[in-house]
Symmetry: C2
Subunit: 150 residues, 2 copies
DNA sequence: TGAATATAGCATCGGACCGGTACGATTTCA
DNA sequence: TGAAATCGTACCGGTCCGATGCTATATTCA
């Protein structure tokens, strides 16, 4: 399917929001309302990001979330892995998926090449960071374009 | 989910097989048996590739399939689009998905950046061709590695 | 101290889509 | 004519995402 899940989309927006406000504590409700996201879904995502240590949670009244890592070091690859688990391009890139091993005639002819593609994808995702997404409000996406381009 | 479907996996192996034998006609059964793939699934995939014109089908006894495009011009992007439809990284990269428009507060702050990432992914997929996958049997994947690397 | 706020954790449910199967029709060759 | 092979379509089950609900816990504030 080669697409990001909606959770990753929510996570990306939320993390950008947190990066934008700096060290101020922002509640999930506030983020959700500001971007038209369903609150419970966003909370699920933020809980996961809290467990992986990418955001810090403050409970209680006037609580909320704060970004726990610097936007420049928070890669898209890490965000995806935190929210939706490790990336499996196809079965044979990662040893086995859900304990089931590949049933094709091993090794299949595309095995090595597909791993190479997998590595290229990971490299791409590791070059992109949250800092590339944050702070680009309306049309000034040039800084992002430059940073991402290579 | 950021992963290829199993259909794409089958398609990739089959197309590599066809590229490997040149212009010889090979039946779906033969390809399936040789790589331990379920025959009906492979046929479904080959039908799609036939409709998109990437392989040519010959019906009847002693029929089968022949690659209809050169491996060097058959990009991974085209193969994915043929088998599983166009790539949608997230909702806002392609205008609308299944007729449903994005319900987030428009435009969301990550809109421009995510499109840029989408473009980078498409570029990566367009640099990789079937020729990079074919002809790498056991361990001699160096030619592929080189061709893919940049 | 008590009420309000806000996150943590878990469990559940519905729907979409992939993976797989089945059947009949069509075409070609022996 | 019969066997081999593709073509088209339809169907079914499993998995996983998207979404919802409830309870527990921690903090703030009156
Ligand atoms: S798909 Fe299993 S080894 Fe390549
Ligand atoms: S997710 Fe809809 S505009 Fe970006």
């Amino acid at each position: 399917m080669l697409s990001l899940t909606r959770k990753t989309e929510y996570a990306l927006i939320a993390v950008c929001h947190l990066a934008h406000v700096g060290q101020k504590v922002v509640s999930a409700r506030e983020i959700a309302e500001q971007h038209g996201m369903p609150l419970p879904l966003l909370m699920n995502v933020l809980k996961k990001l809290n467990r992986t240590g990418h955001v810090r949670s403050i409970r209680g009244a006037r609580g909320g979330y704060v970004l726990a890592v610097s936007p420049e070091e928070f890669t898209l690859d890490a965000l995806i892995e935190a929210v939706e688990g490790p990336v499996h391009l196809v079965r044979c890139t990662n040893a086995d998926i859900n304990g089931r091993k590949c049933t094709l005639a091993n090794p299949c002819p595309i095995r090595k090449s597909v791993r190479k593609v997998h590595e290229l994808l990971r490299e791409l995702l590791n070059r992109i960071t949250v800092a590339d997404f944050a702070y680009v409000e309306p049309e000034a996406a040039q800084s992002s374009a430059k940073a991402v381009a290579q």
